[in-house]
């Protein structure tokens, strides 16, 4: 091995990577901060005693981990031709941008088949003509990678079962270890928790246990088979689904980054200062609200497409273009969806500003800015947190619909919506190809269901502080 002055890869920082990581750190920071805010502490304690909340939170963490692994991008170095010695100094990097997740799943990514193959199949889903010495025969040819290690096809079922058993055995072992590790936190039946916190480790244990028992057999199978089949161009469906997680998370999380400042700032300003500021802000959000959501998004996305087409020279790689489109979509979704939260915060601010402690602060001559940041914002935090949690699942579902309509993410970017869109005609084939759709819907269901259950638990824990606030959402009468 000779000394190489350049790295084997060139890190690439995409905009959405930056925003996702930023959001993760902000969320951790906010979590640490709010653990010290007294009136939120009780809510967190209540939340942490809820096994559904801790369980769904651990599953969501697994999704987040996959998404973050998929948010570390690099461009691999191209193998330089040894004959061209001069080329060693100037390294060339591939145009294709890969992520850490791609590197971990390289076997899934590279194992392309010719076209459709069913889950766990060893033969192609369509017949092909094979030329032999005796003439042409029509048959289902063997897959290039799926079950290629089997010399004899009769071992197919046995091989699958042994892989599943291996996975289950390992999962059982890990589950047992996890259970032992968590045993000291166990709450004795009817007794006081040993360490006094009452954190529902039970939820974490069962959620991670379910995950292990599902994921490990799949992982063992995925080494030799296409567990969820392959799509029309022969790409592994499991790989597509795993890659789609990041897109869903980006849509659900980055959007809030755009929405939050708008909603918090405008909502509080409208409620606190009233007068012409209130009138103006109310006017703006009534206008935005009155346009049906999908149409406003469609109009904005169509215009963005024209804009990106016009400036196609800005992007050096296709991934960068797709990524900017994702960020722009988040931006559009954020700008069109801040109105609900802003209206809620405005109503709550109107109520709070008349309370004695705010009046007292004003009488002492505390500046408006300080009253807002020190006295109003902490008391509005729970509304913001609940709204974010409830928006997340709605946004994930919206992405699929938008991509289906053709105004979602870039077609080159993998997402649940584009998986569904690409497979839309497959059920009408004869025989039907169902696995792409089923996989996309299942992954989406697990993600959205966990997010919904967690948001519910969060709302219960937080909103007992203030039940009335969320009734405003039902009030669709507009503002007189």
């Amino acid at each position: 091995m000779n000394f190489q002055p350049v790295m084997n890869f060139q890190p690439v920082l995409l905009w959405s990577d930056l925003l996702l990581w930023l959001l993760t750190f902000v969320a951790i920071g906010l979590g640490v901060y709010s653990a010290h805010v007294e009136h939120l502490q009780r809510a967190w304690a209540r939340l942490s005693r809820n096994a559904v909340a801790t369980g769904t939170a651990s599953i969501l963490c697994v999704f987040l981990l996959i998404g973050l692994l998929d948010s570390l991008h690099y461009r691999p170095r191209l193998e330089s031709n040894p004959a061209a010695g001069a080329a060693v100094r100037t390294a060339h990097y591939a145009v294709e941008v890969r992520s850490l997740l791609d590197a971990l799943l390289s076997s899934l990514r590279e194992h392309h088949e010719k076209t459709y193959s069913a889950p766990l199949a060893i033969r192609l889903y369509v017949m092909e003509t094979e030329e032999t010495q005796t003439g042409a025969t029509r048959d289902y040819p063997r897959l290039r990678h799926g079950g290629a290690h089997l010399a004899d096809e009769s071992g197919h079922l046995r091989d699958i079962f042994s892989s599943i058993l291996q996975g289950i055995a390992l999962a059982a072992l890990l589950f047992f270890l996890l259970k032992m590790a968590l045993a000291r936190y166990r709450v004795p039946a009817g007794g006081v928790p040993a360490n006094g916190s009452g954190f529902a480790w039970r939820g974490v244990l069962y959620a991670l246990g379910a995950f292990l028992f599902l994921a490990l057999p799949i992982a063992f199978l995925a080494a030799d088979y296409h567990v969820f089949g392959t799509d029309k161009v022969g790409q592994d469906v499991l790989y597509q689904a795993l890659k789609s997680i990041r897109t869903a998370l980006a849509i659900g999380l980055v959007t809030t980054l755009v929405m939050l400042p708008l909603a918090i700032f405008l909502g509080i300003v409208a409620g606190y200062f009233r007068g012409w500021a209130d009138d103006l802000i109310q006017y703006v959000y009534t206008v935005l609200n009155s346009i049906p959501g999908v149409l406003l998004i469609a109009a904005a996305v169509l215009m963005m497409q024209v804009f990106i087409d016009k400036h196609s020279g800005w992007f050096s790689t296709a991934a960068e273009r797709a990524d900017l489109r994702l960020v722009a979509l988040c931006f559009i979704l954020g700008v069109t969806s801040w109105t609900g939260l802003a209206r809620l915060l405005r109503g709550e601010t109107l109520k709070l500003r008349e309370l004695d402690y705010i009046q007292a602060a004003r009488a002492f001559g505390v500046s408006s800015g300080r009253i807002i940041t020190r006295h109003l914002l902490p008391n509005l935090m729970h509304l913001v947190i609940i709204a974010l949690a409830m928006d997340f699942s709605a946004l994930v579902l919206t992405e699929a619909v938008l991509s289906y309509i053709g105004i979602g993410v870039d077609p080159a970017m993998m997402s649940f919506g584009s998986m569904i869109n690409n497979a839309r005609m497959e059920l009408s084939r004869e025989p039907a190809v169902w696995w792409s759709l089923a996989t996309a819907f299942t992954f989406m269901l697990v993600l959205v269901l966990c997010a919904n259950l967690f948001a519910d638990a969060l709302r219960n824990a937080l909103s007992s502080m203030d039940d009335a606030a969320f009734e405003h959402e039902a009030d669709m009468s507009g503002d007189p």
Partner: protein, 328 residues
Amino acid sequence: MLAYLLRRLLYAIPILIGVNLLTFTLFFMVNTPDDMARMQLGVKHVTAEAIEKWKTERGYDLPLFWNADAAGTEKLTRTIFTQKSARMFIGDFGRAENGRDIAREISARMGPSLAIAAPTFALTLFVAVCLALLLAFFRATALDFWGVAICVLLMSISSLFYIIGGQYLFAKVWRLVPISGFGEGLDNWRFLVLPVLIGVVSGVGASTRWYRTFFLEEVNKDYVRTARAKGLPETLVFFRHILRNALIPILTGVVALIPLLFMGSLLTESFFGIPGLGSYTIDAINAQDFPVVRSMVFIGSALYILGLILTDISYTLVDPRIQFGGQK
């Protein structure tokens, strides 16, 4: 009451002007008509003449707001804003990219949209109120818990799944109904039954859970306690007292949605080939037919504002305590 309504109607005008200006900004100022021409003509290197021809054919060759070359009032009227955007207020939506009159197309497509949306809406409301009443009646039991759990599950499933799965199962595998299409006359019900059913199933989870909270809110109020103290059986308390009072927020809440039924459902209509406004919108988005998208945005917001006004009226009709005399 009349003065109040008039005030609300006047308030709607600045909002519609705002919507109009916003769509105008999006469609003509973020990207100039030249960009749109290049996009529509679809080639990288279109000649300047082709762009000019495209713009002249569609009337996009005028200035945006102020035509300095024209005389008199034409300085204002011979502009893109007046010709393309402001004329929507008098119901002139111009022509689509394929040359058809948009206003006529819209009025022809409202019927099929309504044929799907109205039964879906009414059935969902009815089923969800019944189920919510059931869950509230058996509150804090296993039935309530699992009912809410199923509602959350139904909510978490993508609407695309209901449509794709339902179409596959009922139309392709079991061949109970035609896969897609729309007919005239009485025989039409065969085309409608599946889209309506799917619409109800995909909407009922969220609605039931939402209405259940309204019922639960009423359950512990004083008048309910009085009714129980009088010795009324629980069923009578529920159907005579709680149901009526909880229906107020439910009905006034859904009134806002009624005008939007005319817009149809984007996904259902495009999957089932129903020639309504939803599929019209989707086709326009896919074909990047900007005049149609612009018109639909305008109509959608006009209907939304109509919904707000209807909500206000329904408040006064349903709840005699609320009066919009003017001191509100």
